[in-house]
Symmetry: C2
């Protein structure tokens, strides 16, 4: 594959694409439950319920109903909303605050870190995530993601798929959109990037939402490339 | 040395503190001169003259006389101003544009990269420089500076010593100023940081401006620590 202009930077979706939020949250929930003697909780269902609040929470900002707010604040509010349905109303405030930081302690998919190490030699690497800079830094240090800088929601003062998140991240690198590849496991993210002139790479994560996942199993858009996983992504991009 | 609260992040001045801009610019000037047959030019004097335009250029932004402008734009204007005095009026536009990128190709002082590698295991590391994000990323990749993210002027939409550059960089990490150490070879930079509640570390660079340097040879302020070089800085910070 030959691209003109040659890509200079790769931007990555993170939650789902680079890290397995569902298993990580479930595992940390299990440990929390064991430590506090919380009894039987379906922590995978809990992770799904928490994540289900993600888009509605961001929509309160995207719609203008509330001013720009960093994602951890939204996640913390959503946590309070979700706990009662799982019989966890009594979880103390300090435990809630600590558990909310699980989003900076997520485990990368096993193909991610080796591939990013290979790609970093050739390309500028940065997340273009809905996470804020502080969370992006801490997650990168935890998971070993070798970003050159943290781009995304805080740079764009919005949440994907709002155009300014892509455009201000690209502008912060002083690049044209066509010199940047947006990498994601989510068709909607890539369609938004493609509409703004970025290159796009679809990498499926068919178990991001668990074994019953129905969405984003296949690419659904005119994307620059499609890769089986990050190893394949690196192979394809480094062959150009 | 024991600090309460323990530092979580280190912010670094870059030009002069981490990288040797003067020798790097002189060396690249020599290569440019040889390639284009420019004749005898005192490239160290050229580097000094270019750098002498640095503070006055930033002051046009700090004073409000012009809107926020990224540093490479200011450096490019200053380059045009400085070339005639060195008989370089005829330097073509494309060569000027390319030479202006020398600020992303500076050489680190030899103690910097090993020490940052040691410090990165314990602390969040970021530049708090007057450079923009794009230049910070490219310089880090060139010089091997293992930043976790690029903070500084572009995050603060100003130039040091304006308070917002320090405060917004600290806020982007979701830390209190007292949990952050500002590291610099320049007393003025550290005094501004200290006044805002950051911890401070002075590391002298007695030949930043060449063998005749008179300024910033010694710490001149109530700084948290003083180190001989980055090796000593890492020794002290990792012993806490």
């Amino acid at each position: 594959m030959t691209l003109h202009p040659a890509p200079e930077a790769l931007l990555f979706d993170v939650f789902g694409t680079c890290v397995d939020w569902r298993s990580s949250i479930a595992a940390e929930g299990e440990r929390l439950g064991a430590r506090l003697g919380l009894g039987a909780v379906d922590w995978f269902a809990f992770a799904d319920a928490w994540r289900a609040r993600y888009q509605p929470q961001m929509e309160t900002v995207r719609s203008g109903r509330r001013p720009w707010t960093k994602l951890p604040v939204l996640n913390r509010e959503a946590l309070d909303e979700v706990l009662p349905a799982f019989g966890l109303d009594a979880l103390p405030l300090a435990e809630r605050d600590a558990f909310n930081h699980v989003w900076t302690r997520l485990t990368p998919w096993p193909d991610v870190v080796p591939a990013l190490g290979r790609l970093k030699r050739r390309f500028i690497l940065a997340p273009n995530s809905n996470a804020d800079i502080a969370s992006g830094v801490r997650l990168a240090r935890h998971a070993g993601l070798p970003w050159d800088t943290i781009l995304g929601a805080e740079i764009g003062q919005g949440f994907k798929p709002q155009p300014q998140v892509y455009l201000r991240s690209v502008a912060a690198l002083e690049l044209d959109p066509a010199a940047v590849v947006m990498v994601a496991a989510h068709n909607g993210d890539l369609r938004a990037a493609a509409a703004l002139g970025l290159r796009t790479a679809f990498v499926p994560r068919p178990t991001e939402h668990g074994p019953q996942q129905r969405s984003d199993l296949h690419p659904d858009g005119d994307f620059t490339l499609v890769a089986r996983d990050f190893t394949d992504l690196a192979d394809q991009l480094l062959a150009t």
